[in-house]
Symmetry: C2
């Protein structure tokens, strides 16, 4: 039997006692030189990072853009397969930020859940709930919907007021009241906006929140936990990518393990 | 020398006297049986449609989801290459609805413009202008930003009022006043909302609008032209996918040519 995203995540939060998600963004020029000689250098690099950080991680989050840019979808397949086979209790979030009309969304759901075997996929809400439904109704599917993103310009539309309520809060409220009835839904809220994180938490109850922006983007783990944890002291998937992946070019695995442990510990201490 | 998207499009509007964009959504179960025996059946099918409809088209728009779902990126590459080599005056729009933070958006821009050789890519505005800029600043890049989409639930967020102005109009205004300064930007406005099409046209001047939703989705070509054409009687990239691709399973090319010609003529007559 396959466990769905939320079940896996809940079990992992409690067993690994970690809120850390390790983001896999294999940017070719940043990958340490020792991997460049191998045809499957990207896979070897990611597998080394995965092995080094698995014990500290509640989830892995490969970013598909880094594979799509260079035609390396087969590497992404290999990496997802490796995680599923070697660490079957750790959920995989495919960071793809998909968003399209129903018929097309079904194709993207196939891509995420069948082709790559991801447990959840990130999705953009701009086109409305009927474009999110196909991910939620897919067998064993789960959607993590963009709410308040971590980039500097994220407020340009997300913070605009609709009847006195910012758009991102409207998205959060719709997720909590409507989309959650359709299936396994979570939200993305950036660590770089801690006040907004608290506001979203107040709207969505215990729902899981994927929080990018700690590490290289500068978000503070303590504030994230203080503002974002749910009533069980969990509910957070706090992602760090570059700070872990590129911690040290000479000993990448060792350095990744150290940074992942430190980040997990910082998140743990803040609970 | 490579011409950019808008230059190609303007030349094509005038030379082919057509506002029709042929959408390439090769949905495996719908592809006529005679192609199923070939390893490269999807490519053969798309090439037959392309050859049959090129004279009636101002653009081709492959939808990446149909390739991504089944791991057929190499087919998409072959199809884009075929269009560029055989019909170099017809621009290619990669329909991918990408949207991510700056560093990641750069990877998606590489995917669209370098890997696939597309002239423009569709992009989601939810994350703000800093996530659209990488497509516009990419050499020979162009972005077609979602504004008012053709799906039934598109109003859920897009029609919400911000200071009395619907979100999609705010997106249109930002595109016309800010993003257009950064590069080659157009908008997506669905044929299924003709009144909104007129409102967007009033905001954006002569900017190109990609209009999905005629054909299988039921949008009316006459209304689209009446409400959406710019001051030159062009400015529209009116997409039809399924109605052309799957017009007749026995003679797909012949039937595609007929429907494409009829749709082009209907759009032409309405000018």
């Amino acid at each position: 039997m396959t466990l769905g995203f939320s079940s896996l995540l809940n079990a992992r939060w409690s067993e690994a006692d970690s809120l850390l998600c390790v983001g896999l963004d294999p940017d070719q020029p940043k990958i340490p030189r020792q991997y460049h000689d191998f045809e499957d250098g990207i896979v070897r690099f990611c597998v080394d990072i995965i092995d080094a950080t698995a014990e500290f991680a509640c989830a892995f989050k490969p970013q598909i853009a880094y594979f799509a840019a260079i035609g390396a979808e087969c590497d992404l397949t290999a990496i997802c397969e490796y995680i599923r086979n070697t660490y079957p209790t750790i959920p995989i979030i495919l960071d793809a930020k998909r968003g399209d009309i129903g018929d097309t969304a079904k194709q993207y759901a196939r891509e995420a859940f069948e082709r790559y075997g991801a447990h959840a996929v990130t999705v953009n809400p701009y086109m409305g709930g009927d474009t999110i439904e196909p991910y939620l109704s897919h067998k064993d599917g789960a959607a993590i919907v963009l709410c308040r993103t971590s980039n500097a310009g994220s407020g340009e539309f997300q913070s605009q007021l609709i009847n006195g309520e910012p758009l991102y809060q409207r998205v959060a409220r719709t997720a909590a009241t409507e989309w959650s009835k359709m299936g396994d839904v979570s939200l993305v809220v950036g660590a770089t906006y801690p006040a907004e994180l608290a506001e979203v938490r107040a709207i969505v109850g215990d729902m899981a929140l994927l929080v990018p922006g700690v590490g290289a983007q500068g978000g503070d783990p303590t504030q994230v936990v203080a503002n974002g944890a749910n009533s069980h002291g969990t509910g957070l998937i706090v992602n760090s990518s570059r700070a872990i992946l590129y911690a040290d070019a000479t000993h990448p695995g060792e350095a990744a393990a150290r940074v992942a442990r430190e980040t997990r510990d910082a998140l743990r201490a803040a609970r």
